[in-house]
Symmetry: C2
Subunit: 338 residues, 2 copies
């Protein structure tokens, strides 16, 4: 199976490491023998139609080099689009960083691959925030797969659980904590009685929040995940413009203390009901969604099986890579059936 990596940061590298470490398992259990024919990072590409030596490529990244500096197969002139157009491959991993305001580059990468008949696994939420319905249509039209398990919940299989473990039943509504940074901040504000500013600074120092925390605090990141859940699981056809969004900036210590008196907690919840929304809400301390710190959790209310809640780490390079690997295995299985 010939593979192209577009973007080769923590997630891409983690996936490449899993390929190397789990070679035997992948072949024996799943019939997958990944051959990486191109890796593109922000400075260029390394290309070899016979298959790159991933150990070597990973070592270059460890020494902070671009893959394009490779003596034999490096090429600083080649962009992702060039590679997609020129190389034969079965699967492209789009693992460039999410940029929600400007997702055009990711969209072009994904569209180009789909049109070229290449299956796509993306961990980049940006393109899905704006263009998910059209990208899904394009995949269907070109008879290839577009998968994105790693975009919601890191390695926690929210999308897969809902899509594959509840056949014969029907999910009526879903709601959940879809952003670890804000959950950490709200948890710390409640447990340590500190201000939002202090909790944010702590989160930044621990690497849980970015230096510009806008997407997290204003609910944008959670809203993108609501869009993905709604389209993929509930068969809607929506973009981020359809989500009513309120972040956590207005949540005060006073609000949190009032909730506590009623044995409740304030959480930033995304929900897919008749309306799509992201907003701070009070839930019972006993609610299964009352998970702490950076954990994510989603409750699915079903017709026959009651309410089912899945909880886990919502982020992480290896975790997100493991979700992308699951997508690859799904694609392999679908290819085999065809």
């Amino acid at each position: 199976m010939r593979i192209i990596f577009i973007g080769f940061g923590v997630v891409g590298q983690s996936l490449a490491r899993i390929f190397q470490k789990k070679k035997k398992t992948l072949t024996q259990l799943y019939g997958i023998d990944p051959q990486t024919v191109a890796v593109v990072d922000s400075k260029g590409a390394a290309i070899d139609s016979k298959g790159l030596d991933l150990d070597e490529i990973l070592k270059m990244k460890d020494s902070n080099k671009s893959v394009s500096e490779h003596r034999e197969v490096g090429n600083p002139q080649k962009t992702g689009i060039d590679v997609i157009r020129e190389m034969d491959a079965e699967v492209m991993f789009e693992t460039t960083p999410t940029n929600i305001l400007d997702s055009s580059k990711g969209i072009i990468n994904i569209e180009s691959a789909l049109k070229a008949g290449i299956n796509v696994v993306t961990t980049n939420k940006g393109p899905l925030a704006r263009a998910m319905p059209s990208l899904m249509e394009m995949a269907a039209y070109n008879e290839v797969e577009l998968r994105f398990s790693g975009t919601v919940g890191g390695g926690t299989p929210f999308l897969k659980l809902a899509k594959q473990c509840l056949q014969g039943d029907r999910i009526i509504t879903l709601k959940g904590i879809l952003n670890g940074t804000t959950n950490y901040i709200l948890t710390q504000m409640a447990d340590e009685q500190i201000s939002m500013e202090k909790a944010l600074t702590d989160a930044q120092q621990l690497g849980y929040a970015e230096s510009d925390p806008t997407n997290d605090l204003d609910g944008i990141d959670a809203a993108v995940k609501v869009v993905i859940l709604a389209n993929w699981i509930m068969n809607r056809s929506v973009s981020i413009d359809n989500v009513e969004i309120e972040g956590i900036r207005q949540v005060s210590q006073k609000d949190i203390k009032e909730a506590k008196k009623a044995r409740e907690v304030i959480k930033l919840l995304g929900s897919v009901d008749e309306e799509l929304s992201v907003k701070p809400q009070r839930i019972s301390e006993k609610d299964a969604l009352n998970v702490k710190n950076t954990l994510n959790a989603v409750s699915f209310t079903t017709e026959h099986s009651g309410t089912i809640t899945l909880t886990g780490k919502g982020a992480g390079g290896v975790e997100t890579a493991s979700a992308a690997l699951r997508d690859l295995i799904d694609i392999k299985n679908n290819l085999s059936i065809k």
Copy 2:
């Protein structure tokens, strides 16, 4: 798809109701057109190779009649074994009540069906407690499926999540709350500061505990689920004799209060690690496994995706029936591939 019901209590009837209510969905989405050719309850059978009128059969049960009293197709002489031997069918649902001490009847039903080339879906834990490895072997040998999603967690898809949503990853250990009755009792003892006797009486009045609560209180029910999880998910080959079992009878208010001081709670946890065990354990109040009342929850610790916890109702007729339906859909999909 021709179907036999052995046992037709709450779970069997719920499933039959779903068949009637969801006829269209089952055909259109899953290509399943269930034709029930036999229903066996404790007093005999109703048999029609052209397909029984399930509405009529359900009405008889509503009026507390045995299906064997049916004017045209009822037969009080026929047992489950007779039906399995005489009828052509693709799937048998074994939904007789679980009897862990004497599971021989359930085992004979399942073995007979497997040997006759009939796929089996069971919601009866008894046979799996004692004979799961040999039953699984027998299914494989006869090239049919043996499925049992409803035996662990009612409608909450613990088995399916672990088996189908984590490909490419590896579950290293798992532990969880696998018995709703004892979780209800421990929750009430902690929250309401009442004695175990009082909590048990409450549970019995609410229908959460049986009049003989031995299997729940002594950890037997949880241990059977540990066996099922270990065999199915972790590829062990074990029976209930391999589980170290300690129930909750020794848990006192003093223990619970001591735990509370340390911000911990006492839960009856089943775990599959190097050893298999069921015993009361202290966990942090913040642990994702700290779910209340009759809820069940299982945490899976994986190699790459961190710890993932699934929570939901652990019992219920409709819920368990919905799990059995999922098994049916899986079997249908496997048949189609063959």
